[in-house]
């Protein structure tokens, strides 16, 4: 599932046109690169003309001196051109690749989470590193050859034509055929290289998993079995790579023969012309010089063909990501009436991978009220949250969701989310300082505001106890902090954002008693004067809620306040008994009640 291709989303746009669209902004440098390579080509060809002149005027000393001067000035032009070719190629290729990577990142920000779920992060990393590198190295090292080689080839050819056209025409007659044949033969390489990169992406996912789950890997001694998995993936990579090499080898032999035949013909026919006296020595010297500029493009042509195919394999994998449809972001801004109903679900039905997760869910969240979601795991609580965040695209005709009276389809996602604040169980922190992590709630918050938020989240005291205080770096995924500390920082972040609607996936149960009290207090602070939708685990939260929705298999089976529901004696009562009643009894017993 993770690695399936989304063929239906692939644009029809040819992959090289797409790559070139990233090169386009730097066309100035591309043009410099092309002009410089043409200059080098011209210098090389011009040298041929000079040779011819020299051979014809071996006794004219003045002529030789002036030619020597021309050569000298050509050397200087050549030096500059060579420098410019390399420099500008590096410049436009690395900038184009930077833009491509950056636009990939901003694209990934915009695709719905349902799309992201299909890719393992290790696979995406592999695309953005290895595949991008293959593409860049092509642009940097081979792109200019696409211009230089034909020019130097035609130049040399043209010059030779002026000496003896028959010889040249006959020699190169076979070339068009050769180009078509090698082009045709190298096509399967693209498929192989795509497969190699796909499998590499999969092995990368295993490696990423091993690193993220290293505690479990060691505790359960999974080094061996995961290694075998990785090994199996690598074997696939190798299998495809070797198949590609075999193909390459098969196409090299006819390639060499086809491309070397002009030279062979040239030697044979040229020799004949010399023998019958149609070709003089001067021409021969010129021929011998220019021949290199015919051989070089010819011998590089099959290599370039293969390179183009392999590169387009990598480019396609990048294009696949960027052609994933994005969530709606171009809707015009909506002005919000503060009196409007913050959240309204009407007959919302949602299916994911053909499995129905929400079935006809309707509820209304009024301003400054709290609605609690209760139900077994897998009953659809988190899906409601995710739909409200706009993470998943809802099919039309499956009910409607309204935020502040406007249908979800009318909202620009970025705007809509600015009205939402979220505290989830999985507290994602970034490996920057604590102050930065909190400030992510509102980027331009002052130091004082950050501290105020941290205080409200009961986080200030423990932060100050850390040796570097607010400047403490939290490590990858906040690994240097304990669960309770991470949660309080996430709460501080949400407090700082100060959005009218708060989505809360109640996190308090993962904490020790002391942190729990602190976090609970922090949550009460953040829930004050806000419209709250909460996935509730704690009785106190449920009891304080204005409405409790009991979910079972995607449906709201009961609704009402805690007391209404208990009086009703249905699903909620059963849940309640199972969990809270036992705990309560125990605590009452301990107190001797």
């Amino acid at each position: 599932m993770i690695f399936t291709k989304q063929d239906q989303h692939r644009k029809k746009e040819p992959v090289f046109g797409w790559v070139l669209s990233y090169v386009k902004p730097y066309r100035g440098w591309v043009i410099i690169c092309i002009i410089a390579s043409l200059l080098v080509a011209v210098a090389n060809i011009w040298m041929g003309i000079l040779i011819k002149t020299m051979v014809e005027h071996t006794d004219d000393f003045d002529k030789l001196v002036s030619i020597a001067l021309i050569i000298l000035s050509m050397t200087i032009v050549g030096f500059l051109s060579k420098y410019l070719i390399t420099y500008s190629a590096a410049r436009f290729s690395s900038r184009a690749m930077r833009d491509l990577k950056n636009s990939m990142a901003s694209h990934l920000e915009k695709v719905p989470m349902s799309t992201m779920d299909k890719y393992h992060s290790g696979d995406l990393v592999s695309r953005l590193t290895t595949d991008a590198q293959i593409l860049q190295s092509f642009l940097q090292k081979h792109f200019f050859q696409l211009f230089y080689l034909p020019v130097v080839f035609t130049g040399a050819l043209g010059l030779l034509l002026t000496i003896n056209w028959k010889l040249i025409i006959f020699s190169v007659a076979i070339l068009p055929v050769a180009i078509v044949i090698t082009g045709w033969m190298s096509r399967p390489l693209q498929k192989y290289s795509e497969q190699v990169q796909d499998h590499l992406g999969q092995t990368n996912a295993i490696a990423q998993d091993t690193l993220s789950g290293i505690h479990m890997v060691k505790a359960f001694q999974l080094e061996g079995v995961l290694y075998r998995k990785y090994h199996a993936g690598m074997k696939q990579v190798l299998k495809n790579a070797i198949q590609a090499e075999k193909k390459r080898a098969w196409m090299t032999a006819p390639g060499i023969l086809l491309f070397s035949s002009p030279i062979l013909f040239f030697v044979a026919y040229g020799g004949y012309l010399i023998q019958v006296g149609e070709l003089d020595l001067g021409s021969l010297v010129l021929f011998s010089y220019l021949l290199h500029f015919i051989i070089e493009p010819l011998s590089l042509a099959p290599v370039l063909f293969a390179q183009v195919q392999e590169t387009s394999g990598a480019a396609k994998r990048l294009q696949e990501i960027i052609s994933q449809p994005v969530e709606q972001n171009d809707q015009p801004a909506i002005s919000v009436d503060p009196e409007a109903i913050p959240v309204q679900f009407e007959n919302v039905t949602f299916a994911y991978d053909q499995a129905k997760i929400l079935d006809n869910v309707s509820f209304t969240l009024l301003p400054n009220k709290t609605v609690a979601l209760v139900g077994a795991s897998g009953s659809g609580k988190s899906t409601i949250m995710k739909l409200l965040c706009g993470f998943y695209r809802m099919e039309l005709g499956n009910g409607s969701m309204k935020v502040f009276g406007h249908s979800m389809t009318d909202w620009n996602m970025t705007d809509m989310r600015s009205y939402l604040s979220m505290v989830s169980q999985d507290t994602t922190l970034f490996p920057v300082s604590i102050a930065d992590n909190i400030s992510y709630g509102r980027i331009h918050a002052t130091q004082d505001e950050i501290i105020a938020a941290a205080k409200a989240a009961n986080a200030h005291d423990f932060i100050m106890e850390l040796p570097q205080g607010y400047q403490t770096k939290v490590g990858e995924r906040g690994s240097r902090l304990s669960g309770g500390q991470k949660q309080r920082i996430a709460i501080a972040r949400a407090i700082l954002k100060d959005a009218p609607i708060l989505l809360l996936d109640e996190p308090t149960s993962a904490l020790d008693t002391e942190s729990e009290a602190l976090v609970q207090e922090a949550l009460e602070n953040v829930m004050k004067n806000r419209t709250v939708l909460v996935i509730a685990h704690r009785l106190s939260t449920i009891k304080d809620a204005d409405e409790v929705l009991v979910l079972e298999q995607g449906q709201i089976v009961e609704r009402g306040t805690h007391y209404d529901l208990l009086a009703h004696g249905g699903v909620y009562t059963r849940l309640y008994q199972k969990h809270f009643a036992t705990e309560m009894h125990r605590s009452l017993a301990a107190e001797g009640v």
Partner: protein, 599 residues
Amino acid sequence: MFIQNVMRELLQLLSFMKSKKRAYILGLVGDGIGQAAVLVSLPFVFKDLTDLANTKDPALLTRAIITMSVMFLLLSILSPFFSYIYRRCVRELIANIRLQVYQRLSKLPFDYYEQHHSGDTMSRLGNDVVLMENAYAEQLKTLSIILLSLIGSIIGMFAMDWKIAVVLLLVSTLTLYVNTLFAKSVRRIGDRMQQQMGMGTERLNDFLSGLPIIKMFHLHNVVTARYTEANEEVTRSAIKQGHKHGLLEGTNFFIQFLSFGGMLVFGIMMVSKQMIGLGVLVALVQQQMLVTLAFLQLGQVITALQTSLAGASRVVEFLNEPIEPEEYQQESDNEQQCESMLKLEQVVFGYNEATSVLDGVSLRVEQGQMAGLVGTSGSGKSTVMKLLLGYYPPASGTLYLLGKPMGAYSLAEIRSMISYVPQDAFLFEGTIEDNIRYGCLDASEAEVIKASKAAYAHDFIMELSDGYQTKTGERGAKLSGGQRQRIAIARAILKNAPILLLDEATSALDAESEYWVQQALTVLMKDKTVLVIAHRLSTVEDADVIYVMDQGKVIEQGRHVELMRYNGTYAKLYEVQQRKDRAEQIHSLEFSERRVSPT
């Protein structure tokens, strides 16, 4: 000096080849000879043609044609064959290097994982290995062709005219020297660039794992910007590298074009003074072209190789990271016995030297007992578990397992004696069945199902459309928290180890899941020696012993009743937790008792 360094690193690259070294070199040299032979023979063919113009001897023409045909035929037969041989070697080698890096990546001590971002390690496995592949597949091959054709043409030139040959050789040496001058700084930039790429991958990982938060808090300008910043730095280095490369290419062109032109001018003068024949000049022009091209390429190769070597050295550095030892050396006597199943004696430990997280912790759990570990966050509870799992050796003090000091076991033995259910139930990419089976790899399907039934996971698994074959997604993202936890418990049940470590396993669940998870844990804990980190004190009320930790020390110990009587920290913690619950619950109990009869 520099040449020596390059040679040393080249040899190091070759040493990776090991058993494949011969095949690789054979392929490289075979392919190189084929290509070089064509290049070297061309001047001779032209000499024949020039002589033909003078002598009109048809034998010369035949020889020229035959030489050319034979060379091309040889090339078209040899080149595919030999290039296949060495390219295959490269593919195999790179797969092998990836395997080695992967293997190392799972065997490092925990220090490493805590010090290094996973993105950096992933970058070594990706970006840096790709660079190494370039070195083997492209640069070394070009190098071999250049060297072979140089040898060929130098011999050829000496055969034709030694004076010009000497001049050419001097120019070539100069070129080589100039190249090495550049290579050093190219390498420096290459080193920095690979490091920056590592950082880019780190930030890419943060970006990918933080996407929901990025969306919700609109963090494009900060988190995404961190990634694009890293991209910017790489780009800047790449452009700097382009500048250096460009200078080098230009200089090479300058030297070669000038020497070529100079040779031509002087050659023509010599021809006009009848010091050499035109045929020789034609051939020399050919040779010179060859040498020119060769040296232009040599410059490119040496600098490109620097970039690859920068990648290679990061791979080598990683492969040289010391792995986790087989066992920890402990100062205590390994023969020493103790009665307890699990025991810590005066254990001191700190993640760095400045602060100690555990400050003389002693605790023990007898066979079949259940012990609770409570305390505030940061008191050292999780660290105790990590030491028991052998993630770190203690700074001082001794840990005992099954009556023997930990030093008496290998780390593999220690970990096979312990089942561990962490707070964050990590699931691997793959099916549910795979994830459960990780508890015991050779378990039968029936055993897997039995374990998942015992973990109260079977029913929900069967309700999923693909049952046990359902893919869990990255980090188990496609399952809910309660489902993940029960799969982790099923995994632990399947492992069936005598010691069980539970870290906040009942956390973060909704009411019904928590109920099922509790049931599952009861099954899991039966007949096992259990150490549990508890946050809901109700979990450990029935424990045989409770250790209360504070700031790296055990400050209270005893059964629940004893600790309550003692009226210390535990009692206070308990009070805090109970007071709140009670206030709410008494009321609701009164209310509900009329309608439902709690059991």
